[in-house]
């Protein structure tokens, strides 16, 4: 980032190549829509390009990047006209998420499983409640620590840890049942 802020454009390209796909996957698996994910991806990286000269390495770049992305996701969900209730368990947020426009249709989990374990786990992640999925993806794609996830999402360490534990537990349960 420092090199890019000093004018080294190739440094931005390197940074982008290094983080492109994990950020993309985080966004795309959260909104499950190519066009929306494209727009969010562009917004986040535009912010990176514009704020490069003010970035200071007090936190990892990845943490900062995913914090920007998380905020954009929250804004996108709100812009869809829904009020997400960020509660543990997330049944209500799951219902609201399913009402979001352009959500890809999903077959029941058992029908996607046969001969396709990869598709099963991706499908299972898509079924998690919003905040648990968000936490899981930050860890799995961004490789953020629990503490970094708590900072990025604005919650306590224990809340972030609880969400991650719930997400993993649910995924294990679904995958054992259907795979």
């Amino acid at each position: 980032m420092a090199r890019y802020a000093a004018g080294d454009v190739a440094a931005f390209d390197t940074l982008y190549e290094r983080h492109e796909l994990k950020l993309w996957r985080y966004l795309q698996r959260s909104v499950r829509n190519q066009a929306t994910a494209d727009e969010l991806m562009q917004e986040v990286w535009f912010a990176v390009a514009r704020e490069a000269h003010r970035y200071q390495p007090t936190a990892r770049f990845t943490t900062w990047l995913f914090t920007l992305a998380h905020h954009r996701l929250i804004d996108a969900f709100r812009a869809a006209g829904r009020q997400l209730q960020l509660v543990e368990g997330g049944a209500e947020s799951q219902q609201l998420l399913e009402q979001l426009p352009e959500v890809a249709s999903r077959e029941p989990l058992q029908q996607t499983v046969a001969g396709d374990q990869a598709r099963a786990i991706l499908d299972a992640v898509g079924r998690l409640p919003v905040e648990q999925r968000d936490t899981f993806l930050m860890q799995a794609e961004g490789e953020l620590s629990v503490e970094e996830i708590a900072t990025a999402t604005g919650v306590s360490f224990e809340t972030a840890k609880s969400r991650l534990r719930y997400a993993r537990g649910k995924l294990q349960e679904w995958l054992q049942e259907y795979v």
């Binding site: 890019y4 802020a5 004018g7 080294d8 454009v9 931005f12 390209d13 982008y16 492109e20 796909l21 993309w24 996957r25 795309q28 698996r29 190519q34 994910a37 494209d38 727009e39 991806m41 562009q42 917004e43 986040v44 990286w45 535009f46 912010a47 390009a49 514009r50 704020e51 490069a52 000269h53 003010r54 970035y55 200071q56 007090t58 936190a59 900062w64 914090t67 920007l68 905020h71 954009r72 374990q117 990869a118 598709r119 786990i121 991706l122 992640v125 899981f136 860890q139 799995a140 794609e141 534990r165 993993r168 995924l171 294990q172 995958l175």
Partner: protein, 301 residues
């Protein structure tokens, strides 16, 4: 609940399974978005190189205490200006003003006050020098993008920045630092020209390298931008299906890209500013329209 070694291994295995599945998925951002991001990075680097935008001790984009620093900076400036004004009555040595300025509007007011009293104190060289430093700081601050501190200060800063900057420049907060797609649309509507390098996608019918009616409209933003920015270049990339004979499909992609290139030239863009890129193979059968598309991206070197 304490994580046991076996549950740690289980979690690691789950994350690894997820990552393998995710990588195999093949999902990625569109080429148009990737091109736009790269173009924006170059544009921002060019603009920063053209003018200094970083203040000493400017708040970091990821600084969570920037508001506190902003208020502290205001207090320091106010004290500094008060000292300059007071010293006008006595010939004591004067400490230099501390230009840790965070608010353009407040400093403008303070600088204006200092200016009006300048004739009375210019007899003392140190005071004149300090006054000049404060005024220089105010002028430098006035060129900075607005920082969100208070509604009235923000409004004044935004008004001044709107006059100084390009009319189509979108606004954004320092904390988020992003331009919304809606901001871009508004800016474009105001000026009639795209604010940032646009991209376009042209779709072709199956087994065809002829342009459908209305394609020039799809390229309008690209053409307008190219005409408004002499250094901008267009890259034209044809896509082809991963099924069928690769060489034949690749040639079709090149012909489609050439058709789009010719269309750009017909719309007034110099051929030397258009580069046909190597065709890109896209997953999917020839039935899928994305395997017959041509992407046009704009790059500002």
């Amino acid at each position: 609940m304490k994580e046991t070694p076996s549950s740690d291994e289980s979690n690691q295995g789950l994350s690894e399974r997820y990552r393998q599945a995710s990588a195999a998925d093949g999902s990625r951002p569109s080429d148009a978005v990737r091109a736009a991001i790269r173009a924006e990075a170059r544009l921002q680097a060019t603009e920063r190189a053209a003018k200094p935008t970083v203040l000493p001790n400017a708040p970091a984009a990821n600084d969570s205490h920037w508001r506190l620093r902003a208020v502290a900076g205001l207090v320091v400036v106010a004290i500094g200006v008060a000292v300059v004004l007071q010293v006008g009555r006595q010939p004591a040595s004067i400490p230099p003003a501390q230009p840790q300025v965070q608010s353009a509007a407040r400093v403008d007011n303070d600088a204006a006050s200092a200016k009006t009293t300048a004739p009375a104190v210019t007899a003392v060289p140190e005071i004149a020098a300090n006054t000049a430093r404060v005024e220089a700081s105010a002028a430098r601050i006035a060129r900075q993008p607005p920082i969100e501190i208070a509604a009235d200060v923000r409004d004044k800063a935004e008004t001044r920045d709107k006059k100084a900057a390009e009319p189509a420049a979108p606004s954004y907060t320092a904390a988020s630092g992003a331009v919304r797609a809606s901001d871009m649309a508004v800016a474009s509507a105001v000026t009639g020209a795209p604010v940032l390098p646009p991209a376009a996608q042209v779709n072709f019918a199956r087994d065809s390298d002829q342009l459908a009616p209305g394609v020039p409209e799809a390229l309008r933003d690209v053409v307008v931008y190219l005409k408004a920015h002499d250094s901008a270049r267009a890259g034209v990339t044809g896509h082809y299906t991963s099924s069928g004979d690769a060489a034949t499909e690749r040639d079709s992609a090149l012909r489609r890209a050439a058709a789009v290139q010719a269309s750009l030239v017909a719309l007034g863009v110099a051929g030397s500013r258009i580069e046909v890129m190597q065709p890109v193979q896209t997953q999917g059968s020839a039935d899928r329209p994305e395997t017959r598309r041509v992407e046009v991206s704009v790059v500002v070197p």
